[in-house]
């Protein structure tokens, strides 16, 4: 299973763009990169998924370089409500691996 490494915590301010990078050096050909967001006392919530290059949805963008050994979740213009833990996962097909430690993002006023 591909192991992921991401920063334990990050701080930002309202209105800024936040980029969280995840390393997954052992990613396999069939693996997809998926990010989840978790607020306190709630289950994780899907944010975005990608295989290569760039993926964008209404919430975030995901940048994946050609070698796919890392990925960057980009949150544009964060607000206080974006304070949460963000998990990077590498998923093969229908198998859901154990979550990594995640990145605790704190957005300050």
């Amino acid at each position: 299973l591909a192991k992921t490494t991401q920063p334990i915590s990050m701080d930002s301010y309202e209105g800024q763009e936040v980029n969280i990078t995840c390393s997954h050096n052992n990613i396999a050909t069939n693996d997809y990169i998926t990010w989840y967001q978790q607020f306190p006392s709630q289950g994780p919530r899907f944010i975005i998924q990608g295989y290569k290059t760039k993926v964008t949805n209404e919430v975030a963008s995901l940048f994946i370089p050609a070698d796919r050994k890392s990925s960057t979740l980009s949150l544009p213009r964060v607000s206080l409500s974006d304070t949460a833990v963000y998990y990077c996962l590498v998923i093969v097909g229908s198998y859901i691996p154990t979550f990594g430690r995640g990145t605790s993002l704190i957005v300050h006023p």
Partner: protein
């Protein structure tokens, strides 16, 4: 997207007793997953539950401690047996759905268990 209801949302239990957590999904799903999230920690997969077969447990988790039922494609239960304070945690059930673009996992709100 799948909607998952978990019951109870929280409970305080005496050590040595057992608690059964229910997970109801609003659509039929092949696999359901049970996770544990200890205070301040990430999620750890306990087991995968398929309808009609025994659950598959991850390393460190055993059926005697965490028996799982999966009677149909929309429902599952996880029992935490013979509880001790170390079992105090949030327990979450999860399902996945695939569409044309993504494979998403959906989670229940979790059951916050405190063992005293």
């Amino acid at each position: 997207s799948a909607v998952i209801s978990q019951k109870p949302s929280r409970d305080i239990c005496q050590r040595g007793t057992s608690l059964t957590i229910q997970c109801q999904v609003d659509s039929q799903v092949t696999m359901m997953f049970w996770y544990r999230q200890q205070p301040g920690q990430s999620l750890t997969l306990i087991a995968t539950a398929n309808q009609g077969s025994e659950a598959t447990y991850e390393s460190g988790f055993v059926i005697d401690k965490f028996p799982i039922s999966r009677p149909n494609l929309t429902f599952s239960t996880l029992t935490v047996s013979n509880m001790s304070p170390e079992d105090s945690s949030i327990y979450l059930c999860s399902v996945e759905e695939k569409d044309m673009r993504d494979t998403e996992a959906f989670f229940g709100q979790g059951t916050r268990l405190t063992v005293v």
